[in-house]
């Protein structure tokens, strides 16, 4: 179990500051939900953690050491929003998963590991030869989770991983995320604009608005007794929300 720590992280694109001095901790073996409206900087912060967005300032630490952004070691892995486009359409799902594995595994070990990971995400190991087009959205997102786990990460960043899925499939994927997190003791940064989803999987919540974290704390506290007006607005915006009343 590892801790991911963002310290005064800033990301700028040209003159636009997308993430502005964000400090946030993902404790070992915990799920931190990151919520906020579209354009609040959630996904950019996540991409900075895996080296896909350049840091303008601050640092991102894994167990006190800077997250390696070069080289083959990949302790922070990301699962992306759109399962229909995030997998190479020409590659079998087995090859996509195996490609993310550490280099020292030989071919037969990779095959065994692919089968294990597919079963871990509740897909038949025989589907390793299938291409993404042969799978449904929910199945593809499970493959994306297996792909992220193949790199044996210390931390997984899940960026809106249910928002492109049908409601009926979202629950299945969320249950899988919870199950995997508990079984593997993963630290996870779970990004969503859906407060109900975040409440279901996260023990801590951070609220982002215009590139800044405006509020963070235990999910029960933040969602039941929000201190910031923006968090209250977000909660009020959930249609027919019973989040504050129903939270245990």
């Amino acid at each position: 179990m590892s801790e991911l720590r963002f310290e005064q992280v800033s990301v700028r694109y040209g003159r636009s500051t997308v993430v502005d001095g964000v400090s946030l901790v993902v404790p070992p073996g915990e799920v931190v939900g990151l919520v906020g409206e579209s354009g609040s900087g959630k996904s950019t912060l996540a991409r900075a953690a895996v080296g896909l967005a350049p840091l303008h300032g601050g640092s991102i630490l894994l167990d006190g050491e800077p997250v390696p952004l070069r080289g083959r070691r990949r302790p922070v892995q990301m699962v992306f929003q759109d399962p229909f486009s995030s997998l190479d359409p020409r590659m079998t799902i087995g090859a996509s998963i195996a490609e993310a594995m550490p280099r020292d595994l030989d071919r037969s070990a990779r095959r065994v590991e692919v089968a294990r990971l597919l079963e871990l995400v509740h897909l038949d190991a025989a589907r390793a030869d299938a291409r993404p087009a042969e799978l449904s959205g929910g199945q593809r997102q499970r493959v994306a989770l297996a792909r992220a786990l193949a790199a044996r990460p210390a931390v997984v960043v899940a960026d809106e991983i249910t928002s492109a899925l049908d409601v009926s499939v979202q629950g299945t994927v969320l249950n899988l995320v919870r199950e995997l997190q508990r079984e593997l003791g993963l630290s996870m940064l779970f990004i969503s604009h859906n407060l109900a989803v975040v409440r279901y999987v996260a023990s801590y919540v951070a609220v982002m608005h215009r590139g800044v974290v405006v509020e963070q704390g235990p999910a029960a506290q933040v969602l039941a007794e929000p201190a910031e007006p923006y968090t209250r607005d977000l909660l009020a915006a959930v249609p027919g929300s019973t989040l504050r009343r129903s939270h245990p």
Partner: protein, 332 residues
């Protein structure tokens, strides 16, 4: 809320459904047969509707009228056009392409002697075009992705547009002038030595290489923006692996379609280029045969060129279907 693991689903075993391939094969074979018939008919009509008497052309202006008339009868040229057409079809279907009116050599022998030189030129020209275009197009795509390298993009696009639009025989003339006449580095005619290949191959390859590289650059720029490329980068794969294993295969579909068209055009381009470089292939033979109204040779060579282009197009369709089975399904 209770945590419930989603149940494992028993998937049906993956089987290869032969029906789409059968439909695809039948459709392609039908299209090929119709195209061949159109080709045979068009080549027959074109040669027979051109004004002028091929027998008079072959025997010369001083030949006695009786001799010309006897020769015309012997060749069946006095028969009604539909009868000649059916004779022509029957001959092609039985492998008899006729005899040259000028040299009296069977047309199949003329083609057999000249075809290797033309094939050699076309295959080498195409190979050089692809070998240059793929690395250049991929590199240009990587350098100019996401709005990077504006000057590189401008220089690349300008150069490739100019080189891609100049007709290959003009490129040939320019190459002859620079490398043959001015610099005296390379032979400008014939096929006596390997160095004789350089200029005609370059004349054929430069245009297609420029067009192919331009299309590949655009495709690479498009593919490099795809989400699965971001996934590949998140795996921390080396840039070369991301570009060659993930981006290039996905960029090649459009390029492969274009390759078929370019190869067809390149085969046709050999006609003019062979004449510029006095290359002893089918291209130079067909031009001299048109001038002497040697109908059987013209029809035979047109048939060879047409079949070549049709086969290339069919092979590209099959390659596309293998590479991207969706292209086959989309036709249904």
């Amino acid at each position: 809320m209770a945590t419930t693991a989603s149940p494992g689903v028993a998937w049906p075993a993956r089987t290869l459904d032969a029906r789409p391939w059968l439909r695809f094969g039948l459709r392609r074979a039908g299209r090929l047969l119709v195209s061949l018939w159109v080709l045979l008919t068009a080549s027959f009509l074109m040669t027979h509707l051109i004004p002028g008497d091929p027998v008079r052309g072959a025997l010369g202006p001083t030949a006695p009228a009786e001799l010309v008339a006897a020769k015309r009868t012997a060749l069946g040229l006095d028969d009604p056009l539909p009868v000649q057409y059916l004779d022509h079809l029957r001959g092609v279907l039985t492998g008899d392409l006729g005899t040259s009116l000028i040299s009296q050599v069977p047309v199949s022998d003329v083609i057999g002697q000249r075809l290797p030189a033309t094939l050699w030129l076309a295959v080498l020209g195409f190979a050089v075009a692809v070998a240059v275009a793929v690395p250049v197009g991929v590199a240009a795509g990587v350098l100019t992705r996401r709005g990077h390298g504006r000057r590189t993009e401008l220089a690349f696009t300008g150069t490739s547009v100019v080189l891609g639009t100049i007709p290959d025989f003009l490129v040939g003339v320019a190459l002859v002038y620079v490398f043959g006449v001015r610099l005296g580095l390379l032979p400008v005619a014939g096929n006596d030595t390997l160095s004789s290949l350089v200029l005609p191959v370059l004349a054929l390859a430069i245009g297609p290489a420029a067009i192919l590289a331009r299309v590949l650059r655009v495709e690479m720029v498009r593919v490099l923006q795809a989400d699965y490329i971001r996934t590949a980068r998140a795996k921390r794969l080396p840039a070369r692996t991301v570009h060659l294993r993930h981006a290039l295969p996905n960029a090649l579909t459009a390029a492969l379609t274009l390759c078929g068209l370019l190869l067809g055009a390149l085969v046709a381009g050999t006609v003019l280029v062979e004449n510029v470089f006095a290359w002893p292939g089918l291209g130079s033979t067909i031009v001299s045969s048109i001038l002497t109204k040697d109908y059987p040779v013209v029809q035979g060579i047109v048939l060879v060129y047409g079949v070549g282009v049709l086969l290339v197009n069919t092979l590209v369709d099959v390659a596309l279907a293998l590479l991207d089975p969706r292209s086959m399904i989309r036709e249904d």
